[in-house]
């Protein structure tokens, strides 16, 4: 017996929402700069699950969903490279990765 497609889609969307919330909490709570970066990856993964789920269950979106997911993956790779370079630079200059100590631009 095949499940109702709306129930199957809801399962995927709930998983995407859970990953999104975990990512937002990770970004807000972690004091380590690399932990903040992990939160960004979780948020992007949650969005990607939604894209691919709609590509599967909505016939007008079947090519676009997967293509947008590929674009998001490439963007995530670029963002991770630049953010890690910034974190390493910050660590070289300040000898810490605590984001609370990065307050030189505070007015």
């Amino acid at each position: 017996m095949s499940p109702n497609p709306e129930d199957a889609l809801s399962g995927y969307l709930l998983l995407g929402a859970l990953l999104f919330v975990c990512g937002v909490l990770c970004m807000a709570m972690k004091r380590n700069a690399i932990g903040v970066l992990m939160g960004v990856e979780l948020v992007l993964n949650g969005a990607n699950i939604n894209f691919v789920a709609f590509a599967r269950y909505n016939p007008t979106f079947e090519v676009e969903g997967q293509i947008f997911a590929l674009f998001v993956i490439v963007m995530a790779a670029a963002e991770a490279a630049v953010a890690l370079a910034i974190v390493l630079n910050f660590y070289n200059n300040h000898m810490t990765v605590d984001v609370d100590t990065a307050e030189e631009l505070k007015g």
């Binding site: 909490l25 932990g35 090519v63 674009f71 890690l84 370079a85 630079n89 605590d98």
Partner: protein
């Protein structure tokens, strides 16, 4: 319960549990290890949805590339007090409340919305499912993507999917290519070794 539903719940529980563990763990090294499980589980979700190419890309780029980068960042900076940075109890309480409220809002919106879904026989048929050739055609705007999407489903009385206009993602593809080049140069410039005055590096 068919096989796909059971597999989905197994993979979804693994993925969701490890995503929560990424947040809860205080140790940054363990957090990176849980992130590995989460990204792998997401690739499993893509395979379950019939998106083979996206799942393979997720495994190659995320698990093989980004995670190695993150682990190297952890290894280069994890010294003494930075391995586990404690967060206060009050911040934990606030974060839990905010997270639960956000999750409830998102879940209720997801449940109440009326999504236009159809049972798609196309993705269950390996001959006509969306493969990487179709994706490449959509990137280039090739016209054969469009009639394939309008092919009637034999032996079924399901309505035809609406006609698609041919779309090309060639320009975003080129923009992403240039963007990757810029990011490569920028990351190499930011992370370069500092040249000390008077010494040859």
């Amino acid at each position: 319960m068919d096989l796909q539903t059971i597999l989905f719940w197994i993979v979804a529980i693994i993925t969701g549990f490890s995503a929560i563990a990424v947040v809860v763990t205080q140790n940054i090294v363990r957090s990176a290890a849980w992130l590995l499980v989460t990204l792998g589980g997401t690739a499993g979700i893509y395979f379950l949805l019939g998106a083979d190419f996206v799942g393979a890309t997720q495994l190659i780029i995320y698990v093989g590339g980004i995670l190695v980068l993150v682990v190297f960042g952890v290894m280069l900076t994890a010294q003494g007090p930075f391995i586990s940075m404690k967060v206060g109890a009050a911040e934990w309480a606030i974060a839990m409340v905010v997270g639960l409220v956000l999750l409830v809002v998102l879940a209720s919106c997801t449940m109440q919305a009326n999504w236009p879904v159809t049972q798609q026989a196309r993705m269950d048929d390996p001959q006509r499912s969306l493969n990487s050739t179709t994706l490449a055609g959509a990137f280039l705007g090739l016209p054969q993507v469009t009639p394939k999407a309008r092919m009637p489903i034999p032996g079924g009385n399901q309505p035809l999917p609406p006609a698609r206009t041919p779309v090309a993602y060639l320009l975003p593809f080129e923009i992403v290519s240039v963007h990757l080049l810029v990011v490569l140069i920028g990351a190499a410039y930011l992370a370069r070794a500092k040249r000390r005055r008077g010494t040859v590096v």
